[in-house]
Every structure is written in structure tokens, then in C-alpha cells.
């Protein structure tokens, strides 16, 4: 019985909490941020907007296109492919044997005619076609630490397969890229007068200063059974081997040009340049092409009509769209 009473008291006191003190309110604090009511602009593509955007693009692009085309037009460029013609006729069937034979004389003379006045500086490039400087195994095959510091000459990781000599000595500079350094040379002359080709400063200053060490000298270079390309002067530090520096900046595309030097004098229209070149570099084994290029430059670089045409096309298209939209909006208004 006592239990019964107990329960009655218990139950009647248990559930009467109707006016318990109010807890802290959890009401979210108002702010424009939490209520997602930040001031905002709501752009809507109204006809006015659409037409003005197209017109604006047209207005900007067409002049740029014209300017680009004109710049490209002003550039004078002489391109001469010589890899085929510089092979003696008796060797055309086996070009690889020709190029691999160290005994044969690789000298070859080409004459180029200047079509238009070329004002200095005239850039001399060699152009390789079908040479995959961006081939994965090629691109990776270098070691930047070794190039920069003399103390890290042993650092040849990643340089396969041109890491060390057969006796295990590290190759400096190691790797396929350095090993395959381009080694054709050109001597230019107009009549009897030699044209001086300035080969200083053809590489990036940043590379010379920071990437290729001033106290790093070539070691064990091109000493393997297979010679890939040029040999380096072991007495000159890498930072002065500008051909190497240029070559080591691997090209983006399989057809590329590399700066060989600059001719720092104007050439007149009709001038005939004779080029004495040493056709050393083996592109025959993989049917690559070699070209010699002389070119002036404009504010836009070399001779290339693409950008001008592209700009004109885009600008024209925009004008067309602007007109089309205007007509649509006028003919079929909502």
C-alpha cells in the first residue's frame, strides 16, 4: 500500500514542468549572410547585352587581326631544307651510313637569296622536323641539379640511359637531351664577305645565371659507344655553352626551331648568301628534316598568319552574330 501512495506523489510531481525557466533561445541571429540575402547583382542576358557583347568583341578583334596580319606580313623569312641535298648523290640510298661515317667530309654549301630587305637583327635558326624533343623518355632524361652545381656531378638520377660511362663515372651533363646536342654548323657569306653570326646571348639569361653552373665543366661527355651529337669543350663551363643551354630547353612540339645566332646587319633584297654548313647531325635514322631559317622578327614574333586570321574570323563571327541577334530580336520579339 505504501507503494501506491508513493507512486501517486511521484507521478503528480513528475510532470508539471509547464513553466520551467525558459532556456536560452536558439533563434538564429539575423544577418544578411546567414539568411543568404547579401546584396548581389543579377546579370541577365538581355538582347541589349548580347548584342553589345558581340559587337564589342568584333570591334576589338578585327583591328587586332588586321594588325597581326600586317606584322606577320612584314616578317621576311628564308627557309632552306638541306638534309636531303647535302647528302652526296652516291650515298642517298644509305644516308644513315653516310652520316655515321666519321671519315666522310660533311661540308655542304647552300646559297640563299634574300627576297626582301631584311633589317637587323636577323635570327638564324635551325629547324628540326619530326624530332620528338617532347618524347617522354627524352624529356625526362636530364638532371638539373647536376647542371647547376659542380658538387652534384654524381647526381645522375633520371638520366637513363646516358647516366654513366661503362666504367661507372658520371657523365656531365648527363641524359639523352645533352647527349643528343645538335651539331651542324653554319658559316654565312655574301660574296666573299663573311657575315658574322653572333652566338652570344642566344640562350635565356635566367638559364645561364641560375640553371647552368659557372663552375660545372663537361666530363666524360660523348664517351660512350654511341655518339648522339655535338661534343662539348671541356674547358668551358656549362653556363657558357649556349648551344647546349638552348638545346636543353626542350621544344614543345615535334617541329621546332632553335636559335643558332644573330646576324647583326641588314640584308638587302637580292643579296645572295652562301652558307657553308657541316651536315653532322643524324636525322636520317628517323626520317627527320633539317632546315636552316633566316628570319626577321616583328612585335608578334615570326612569320605566322594564323593569329591574324583567327582574330579576323572571331571578330567577323561576332559581328555576324550581333547582326543576327539584332534581326532576331527585331523580327521575332518576345
Amino acid at each position: 500500500m505504501n507503494n501506491v501512495n508513493g507512486s501517486v506523489v511521484g507521478s503528480s510531481s513528475g510532470s508539471g514542468d509547464g513553466s520551467a525557466p525558459r532556456r536560452n533561445s536558439k533563434r538564429p541571429k539575423y544577418s544578411r549572410f546567414t539568411q543568404q540575402e547579401l546584396p548581389a547583382c543579377k546579370p541577365i542576358l538581355t538582347p541589349k547585352w548580347v548584342i553589345s557583347v558581340f559587337t564589342l568583341i568584333g570591334v576589338v578583334f578585327v583591328p587586332i587581326g588586321i594588325a597581326s596580319l600586317m606584322a606577320s606580313n612584314d616578317v621576311v623569312e628564308i627557309v632552306d631544307r638541306y638534309d636531303n641535298v647535302c647528302v652526296p648523290p652516291n650515298m642517298t640510298n644509305d644516308k644513315v651510313a653516310y652520316i655515321q661515317n666519321n671519315a666522310t667530309d660533311k661540308t655542304c654549301i647552300r646559297t640563299l637569296e634574300v627576297p626582301k630587305h631584311m633589317s637587323q637583327p636577323i635570327y638564324v635558326y635551325y629547324q628540326l622536323d619530326n624530332f620528338y624533343q617532347n618524347h617522354r623518355r627524352y624529356v625526362k632524361s636530364r638532371n638539373d641539379a647536376q647542371l647547376r652545381k659542380r658538387s652534384q656531378a654524381n647526381e645522375t638520377s633520371g638520366c637513363d640511359p646516358e647516366k654513366r660511362t661503362i666504367d661507372g663515372a658520371p657523365i656531365v651533363p648527363c641524359g639523352l637531351i645533352a647527349w643528343s646536342l645538335f651539331n651542324d654548323t653554319y658559316i654565312f657569306a655574301i660574296g666573299n664577305k663573311n657575315l658574322t653570326v653572333n652566338k652570344k646571348g642566344i640562350s635565356w639569361k635566367s638559364d645561364r645565371d641560375h640553371k647552368f653552373g659557372k663552375d660545372v665543366f663537361p666530363k666524360n661527355f660523348q664517351s660512350g659507344p654511341l655518339i648522339g651529337g655535338a661534343k662539348l669543350n671541356a674547358t668551358k663551363p656549362l653556363s657558357e655553352q649556349e648551344d647546349l643551354i638552348v638545346w636543353m630547353r626542350t621544344a614543345a612540339l615535334p617541329t621546332f626551331r632553335k636559335l643558332y645566332g644573330r646576324i647583326e646587319q641588314d640584308l638587302n633584297a637580292g643579296d645572295v648568301i652562301s652558307v657553308t654548313l657541316k651536315n653532322n647531325y643524324n636525322t636520317y635514322s628517323f626520317s627527320g628534316k633539317k632546315k636552316l631559317v633566316l628570319s626577321t622578327s616583328s612585335w608578334l614574333g615570326g612569320k605566322n598568319d594564323f593569329l591574324g586570321i583567327a582574330y579576323l574570323a572571331v571578330g567577323g563571327l561576332c559581328f555576324f552574330l550581333a547582326v543576327a541577334f539584332t534581326i532576331v530580336y527585331l523580327v521575332k520579339p518576345r
Binding site: K26, P28, A40, N134, Y138, L176, W179, L253, F286, G301
Partner: protein, 1277 residues
Amino acid sequence: MADGERTAFGDLLRPIADPPVRPDLISLSASATAAASAAVDPPHGSRSEADRLGASLKELADADARIVFVGDPGRTDPGLALPGNAVRTAKYSFLTFIPRNLFEQFRRLAYVYFLAIAVLNQLPQLAVFGRGASVLPLAFVLLVTAVKDAYEDWRRHRSDLVENGRAAPVLDPAGSGQFRPRRWKDLRVGEVIKVLADESIPCDMVLLATSDPTGVAYVQTINLDGESNLKTRYAKQETMSRLPSITAGSVTTLIRCETPNRNIYGFHANLEVDGKRVSLGASNIILRGCELKNTAWAIGVAVYTGNETKVMLNSSGATSKRSRLETHMNRETLLLSAILITLCSAVSICNGIWLAIHRDELELSQYFRKRDYSGGDEKYYNYYGIAMQVFFIFLMAVIVFQIMIPISLYISMELVRLGQAYFMIRDKNLYDESSNSRFQCRALNINEDLGQIRYVFSDKTGTLTENKMVFQCASIRGIDYSEGKDPSPNGSDVYCVVVGDQFWRPKMLVKTDPKLVRLLRSEGETQEGKHARDFFLALAACNTIVPLIVGTPDPKQKLIDYQGESPDEQALVYAAAAYGIHSPLIVLGILGGRCCQIKIKIRRAKYTYICRITDRGDCVLCMLGCALPCQCSTSHGIGFAFKTQDFWPFLSHSYCLCYRLQLLSSTLTASGFIACCMSTLTHIYGRNIFTCTPGICRFNVLGLHEFDSDRKRMSVIIGCPDRTVRLFVKGADSSMFGVLEKSIDLDIIRATETNLHAYSSVGLRTLVVGMRELSRNDFEEWQSTYEKASTALYGRGSLLRAVASSVENNLQILGASGIEDKLQQGVPEAIESLRQAGIRVWVLTGDKQETAISIGYSCKLLTSEMTHIVINSNSEASCRKSLEDAIAISSKFVTISSRAQNTITGSGSARVPLALIIDGTSLVHILETELEEKLFKIATVCDVVLCCRVAPLQKAGIVALIKKRTEDMTLAIGDGANDVSMIQMADVGIGISGQEGRQAVMASDFAMGQFRFLVPLLLVHGHWNYQRIAYMILYNFYRNAVFVFIMFWYVLYTAYTLTTAITEWSSVLYSVLYSALPTVVVGILDKDLSRRTLLEYPKLYGNGQREESYNLKLFILTMMDAIWQSLVVFFIPYMAYRDTTVDGSSLGDLWTLAVVTLVNIHLAMDVFRWNWITHLSIWGSIAVAVMCVILIDSMWFLPGYWAIYHIMKTGLFWLCLLGIFAAGMIPRFTMKALAEYFMLNDIQISRELEKFGNFNDFTGTEISMSTFSQTHPGFIR
């Protein structure tokens, strides 16, 4: 139920002397239990009545039964094979966390993919990226997710710990007979456990004894099935009487029960005590999760523990949900994988061909050089023959192009959802003042599903309604009293019961009509006053309410809490109390200067009420023998009479007391019981003893005919102070008008009918009250038949029904009541909004059909022009038939409406709306059978579906019905534990936090305070979330595809050897740093439309339902755009830099900057709303990308040293960039302009309206909008 009641009495009446068991009693109790279980068991599983009866009578086969030795867990479960009572909801333990969590995470296929790639990249032949660069992103993602999971699981651990650590008194198995506290988790099957009042029940137990001599225990099952009223459970008298010997272990008691199952309404077992066998039913078991109420203690034996308890079996563990968008995203991811494999195959095959063509040249070409001479012997360097080379290239290609499948997308999505959740939680429109609860995001991975819901399954009680019935108005004798005014808050004008120095007042205050109050107070016996009093007397008397006294902080004030099964009755009783007629008896008297509490316990088991008057001190007033049941009879009755007179004057206010007492006499056998009761009653309470003191009238309840669904009414026979005997009947109008005496008061009946129509049209639940004065002959005739019927052994229910029907006729109409099931604020509007948004709202409720329908009306779910299809069937055959009929009806309506649509202009409004109303009994025969298909067919045609009397698992079954058959998204919303299974089954589960427990909230994905928040949640946040995430996924696919394609084009120019011009660091950072932040910011903050617009035009929600922001078409268009843009990005520089001295790094930098800027511009073009954060993130990202590129190119050890500085000095670089932006964006911009102009959709129109509609604010946006939507059919679909 009546039969069940009798059983209890049979038990109670069993003499202590333990006479030989009479066979008739045994069979009675057995069949009664069966009937009782049938009554409470809304049938899950389709066994027939006979089956069930048979099952309870026949022995449970030992093979599939669990044998529990009471008080002997060791013998019950010798091998400890049964689970302990520990409950475990946590997923991981300390040791298993890392492996299990990793396993869980790697169930995301994408992660496996990234892992595989990272592993591949570790192979020296395939090492494309540095080791760190390839593993880092994946490790980061895994770590973040693991930390999140660990935190969540830690919280679950803590709650498990609390739950398992609770203590319960357990009988000492040593045989001392003492109860010792033990932790819940250590409880075992077979142990005897004591539960005290207001405590939770630790496991499923068979009751052995309770503090009540009759063996009654009251439990609240709110956590189990969501019903808040008290339920009665009984201990068998066999065990009650032998409790001491059972606890002492001297009697072997064993229980054979069925194996654990999830049916919370059924239980089959038998009890063997002393060789006697008694059958047990659902009314003998108390389940875990319930609370013991109004019972000092209960002792039971554990039969199911821990995860085998019915509540745990019913809460099928939280399944991890995955959003629809993510499922689609996986489809697109597969497509992307296909593209990826194609790209990789193309590269590797091309590489193979290239190698084959150049086979002879490889040896000598400087850039390849097959051999490595340095080792002395000539070996191949990194060359394994063409076949292997092709294979390796393929794998390398996979590594290089891996970001085609965007790993950052997974992180971004998590972040975006986190941000969206933040804004949902912080939204002040989702804050509920009354419960002080914010919106809760419990699941973080289905935010966007909120924008695609097509079906809403809603619980009724507590979800749509506040679960508070409120008496609104009355029509008494045809006069309408509906001018109710709110009671003053201090309760000064409330009728209180003054008991000593205490005031008792009703817990709930009801609006009162001043006119009616005046009428009742008027001293003069006007006819109207008398009718009004009769009316409220009927309301106060004609019910099955249990009153409880509840304390308040003010010791002088107590609250009377009327509890009952039916909230309508509660409302009526409260109303009667508000008008001064308190019901039923609650008395506190002062005896001998000391407070004595008299508690009238009224057994809800219908018409039997036990009064027990107890005193804490010396004076014990026993109305009914508690201690000595056999000695009570008349002498105690007299005692009561005598004592009550003592304290009677303390009750001074003008109020009436309705007694509904029936005495028990233990000296009688079951058959003679009622007769004796009646005579005792007459003897004690008969009109001789009690006289009427001023202001207090006493009425004796002489008989009660309970409610049943055939008659749809209940009645009570009352002996009144003026010596008349009256019958009061209340019931549904449909049943009442048939039994009214039509010859008189015809105009009053008419007037009442008018009032009723008015009430129901405003959504009130109506009841009609009638009265008849019984003549002496009538009364005696009734009394004899009633006695006979109620003492009959067989078919008592139908006999009683017949008695009721015979007496309930020729009634005089008293009036009608209008009760408001108080809807939550804004529910009708919310449902209307949802419906306009194209969301179908289904209501699934445990309530009875009438209630469900009236709620349907009041929340505007049902309208009067709807055609109702009602399915109430008891068998499979009749279900089939009614379903087929329903299909026929619906197809007729559909054809009619389609014809109407053809003839009329086809606006769609000509369709006759259909409503399907189906009850749980029918669903038993339909769900999980082949009839499901038919139900689905009919249900999807109907505009509204109402399911009543459904069990929790049936709710889930209905959700599954839709989920299995359609692609449409389902949402379930509920507040009680009975909604848990539904919430877990639906794609999105929402718990209403507040009134009923926490179970629903714990199981839900989102929780909030009010139903109406569903509208801003779905229409605003859901729309935004969907649109944002959809865009973000598409954008991420696009962004990574552009990048991959650019790399792919480049690979075509590197002899297919997977060189990347773009540095590996830029590759890794691209999707993580260069372009990730804007997508996240846009995914969190961008809004296509303002909140106001979305709420104003719910149709806009269709965007998500129709999957307009993310679908295969959009994906393909986006991919085509990606290819175009990648072509532009790659080939403009390629063409411009052809035959120049440009090096790979410089061109790579150009490509990097071009693509980063382009994708950010692309995003910028799609941003709807620019605020400062958007600006900052987009332009900031571009700036960061530029700075990173510069930084990377400042590293001397990288090949690209200084390249960016060189290339930035040239005009060509800038012209290329400019050209790329223009050319890349033109197609998209043009398409966008065209689409916005020609392919109008709702969103676009609303956006323009939002922006430009403001100009004509003066003319009213409303008008312009409506004309707009008419002229553009696209707007209204």
C-alpha cells in the same frame, strides 16, 4: 476488449485459497486473450482469426519456441547463446574503426579507382607523377571523411553507453528474494526485473505481478507506436498470487514464447506454473521503450533482450542514404570512365602503331635511343617490346588522364553540402519558436534530394496536427453557440475545484461562449438551461476518460489532466469542465485534519472503475478491497458512504460529479459477478443514500455501452439525483440521426443539421448527443438484458451490442459538438503550396478512418468536390474486389476528364480529383502480395491518399510501394517512434522535433519543429540545393574534362608518349586549388531565384522534379562544350607557336593559364547572383593560379625555370589568351543567349520578373505575373 477485461477479473477473482481450476474458466481466459490480442493487434501478417485463436490455444512447438525459466537465466540460456540486453547503435569500435571505416569509404567506387591509380603510379615503369603528388589528394579526402565519421560514431557510443548503463532492480538469482540494481546491459533472458513508476522498461518482459492487486499495469507506448495514451497490461493472477514462491525460486515457472519478431502488437506464449498452463497474449507483455505509468511497480521476467526486443527489431538500423543526384552522377561517372578508357586506348594503340612503324629507327633516333650502354652489356632502356609498351602506355594514360573522374568533386560536394546545411540551420524561417528548435541536418549527403521530392508521406498526429483537440462550439437544441472567447490567461474565470486550500483546475483551458455560460449559471430552471446542463452532462459522462492530478510549481494549484484513448473525448471533457461540469470524480478530502488523497482509478478497460480511497495514516478507506479483497462487499461500501460525507462539504463550488462506479465483489464467481455489482450499486448508491447538497449533484452510472465501429456511438445510463434514469448517447451524426425520435423536435433536428454542416465545412469534427429518459419498465427491462448479456460466456460482445442497439433509440436530440483537431499553424497553406509544387501528399496515420478523414478536410487535403474511394476489407478476396472496383472508377473518371480535356481547351483543371482512403486491415492483405501492383495503380491515379489504422511497418511498406515502382523521390515526415520505419524507408526522412519523444528525430535525415517548414525547406532550400549541386557536378565534370582533353591533344604531338607540357604540380593543383573554391562558393551561395519568388510560385519546384538541372542531355552538351573549349585552348597556341623556338614549359604555362582562366570565366558566366564573395573567389582563383604558375616557374630545379616570365613578355602570349577566351566562350554564350530568349522556362521567366518586375511595382507584380503565365504556356506545366 470487454472479454479481455473479464479475463482479468477472472484472475482477480480467483480465491486465494487456490481452488481447483475450473475448465470453463480456463477456456474463457484463453479465448479472451486471443480476442484481446486480436483487438489490439492491427494485423501485420495475414493470419485469420481462427488461426490466431488456434495458435494461442495450441502449444507452441518446442522447436520454434523460446523457453524461459522464470528467475533462472542460467537454465534459460545455458550457453549464453541469447544476446544480452546491451544495445549497440554505434558502427565502429576502437579497434575496428580504421579497417571498417576504410572499407565503408572504399565502397565508393571512385575511391577504389583513385587508390588503384595511386598504386599504379608507384610502379617505377609507370611513375608519371611524383609519389606524393599522386597519393596526397586521396589521402586528404579519406582523412577528412574518417574524422567526420569518427566524431559521429563517438556520439553514438556515448548515447549507447548512457542507455546501457542505466540500472534496473533485478531479482537476486541467489534466491534471497531481494532486488538489486543491475545495469541494463547485463540483464539476461529469464531474469526477474522490477520496474518502478515512470521508469522505462529495459527489455521485453512478461508481467508477473504489479502493485495493483488486480494485476494491472499502465504503460505509455509513445516511443513505440507514438500513441500518447495509457495502455493497460495485465499480470496473470496465477503469477501474482504466487509471486513470493516464484521469486524465492521454489516454484518452477516457465514461459514458452515465440521467437523474437518485430510485431509489437502480437505475442504468443504460454506460461506454466506448478504444472498449470495459462496462455499469454499481447496484453501480458510490456515492451522495451515503454514507460510504466500510474503503477507503483511492476515485476516481470525478461523474455527478449537487447537487439531482440521488439523496439530494436522495429528500428531497422539506419541505412546510409545516397542522394538521387549522386546516383545519377555515378552513371555519368561511368560514362566518363568510358571516355577515359577510350582516350587511353586511343593513345596506347596509336603508340603501338607508331612504335611499329618506327621500329627500325628507335635504335638510333636521338630522342628514343632504345639501348643503355652504360651497364657494359647492351640492354634495353625502359623498353619491353611493343606489346608491353602499349600496355604500359595504357596504364600511364590512365594515370595522366585520371582527373577525368574528378576526385575533388567528392570533397567539393561534402563542403558544399556542409555549407548548405549551415544555411538551412541558420535560416530563421526554419526556427520554431514554440519548441525553441532550429532546423537540424542529420544526414549530410542528401541535401539536394530536397529539391526533387514528388511524394510526401506524412504522419497525422503531431505532424499535421498539434495533437490537441479543442472544443470549439456547440449546438444545443438547435441553437448555435460558437462565439467562444479565450479564457483569461490567469484563469480567473475558470471553474476550479476547491479542495481545502487547493485549487484544482483543468489542465487545458477551453474557449467558452459567454451566452452559454450565462445560461448555465442562471439559477432559474429555464428549459434552455436544463438542456445545456444535460448536454454537458452527457459530454462529461459519456466517455472513458482517466483523470490524473498533476502538480504545478504553485503548491496551491493542481491541474486536472484528463487522459484517455480518444483525444476527442478529452476535448469534450475539458469543455464540460470549462462550463462547470467536472468529470469524472476526483476528490481530495481532509479527514481528521489531515490530507487524505483519494484516488479514483478508472480502469480504461471500459466500464469498470475501481475506486480506491487511501490514507497515508491510520485511516484506510477501502472502497474495494485492496488488501483483503474478499472482505469488502457492502461494509466497505458503507464506509465509503460514511466517509465521503465527511469531506463532501469541502467541495464547495458549483459543479457536478459524475460517478461511474461499479463495484467488485470478490466473493462472487465470474458468472454472478455483474448481477452482484448491480445490486450492490443500487444498494449503496441507490437513490436512498445520497442526497443532493446544493450545487453538487451526484449521478450514478448504471451502465455503459462502449463505442464500436458498427454503431458508431456510445451510450451511458445514469441514475440522476431527481431519481430519473437517463440514457445519454453520443455518436457520429450519420449513426445518430437514425436513432433520433423524428416525430418531435423536427425543427430542432433540422437546425442541428444545419449547424453540423457549418461545423464540418470549417473542418471541425462533429458529434451528436442525444438523450432519452428511461421509464421504470424500460430500465428494468434493460437491466435484466444487460446483466444477462454481460455475464454471458460466449458471444458477449454481440449480445452487448444488441442490448445497446435495443435501448439506443427514440432519442431526443440534445445537440452537437464541434471539435477542432488543432492543426499546426500553416498546415493547410503548406499542403496547398506543396500540391501546387506538384508534390503529392499522402497521410498515413494510426488513427481511425473518421478522424483521418476529418483531418483531411481541415487541412484542405480533401475537398468536398473530391470523389472518395474507400477500401475497408477484411480478406484478400474482398481487397481484390474493392481494388478492381476502384480501378474501374478511377479509369472512368480519368477518361471522363480526358474527354473533358479534349473538348475544353485542355487546361487540366477539368479532372475530377480522386481521393483514396484505405485502412490498415486492407493493407495487410495488399502489401507484399500481388495486389500491391493494383494498389499502386490506383494510388498513383488518386490525388490524395489517406491510410488509416496503419502499423509502423505498414507505413514503411507504403513508402516502399512507391519507391520500388517509380523513380520519384519520396519524403516521409513524422514525429513519433511509429514513424521511424517510414522515415528510414523514404528517400528523405524528416523528423518533427517536439512533442513525442526523440525517436523520429534520431532516425531522420533532417529534423525541424513544424510541418509548415516543409514548404521553405523544399521549395526554397531544396530548390537551391538541387540547382546548386546539379550545376556544380556538371561544372566539375566539364572542368576536368577540358583539362584532360587538352592533355590528350598534346599527347597526339608527343609520339603518344604522355608527356605533359603542363607541369605535374599544376595538374594536381588544377582541380584542388586553381578552380575548386569558386565551385564551392557558387555551390553554397548562388541562387537562381530569390526566396520570395520561390515561395510565391511553387510551380518552380518542378525544375527539380523534372530533373532539369542535371540530366544526360545537359551532361552531353556540357561535354561537347568541354571538347570545343579544349580544342580552342590547345590549338590556338599550337597554331600560333608552330615552327617557333617555343619550349614545352612556356607553352605549358600558356595552356595552364588559359584553361584556368577559361573555366573560371565559364563559371562566372553561369553565376546568377554576384556578391562580393563570388567576385572574390572567382577572380581570386585566377590570381592564385597565376601566382602558382609563377611560383612553380621560379623553382630552378624544375625544367620550366623562368619560362613564364619569358613568355609573358611577348605579345603573342596575350593575344593567344584573349583569342582563347573569346573563341572558347562564343558557342556557350550564343547558346545561352538563344536559350534564354527562345527556350523559355519557368526559372528564366521568374528571374526576369525578379529583375525587371520591380520597375512596375506600382502596377503590381501580381497582375503582370498572371498575365505573363497565361501568355506563356511554358510557365504553367
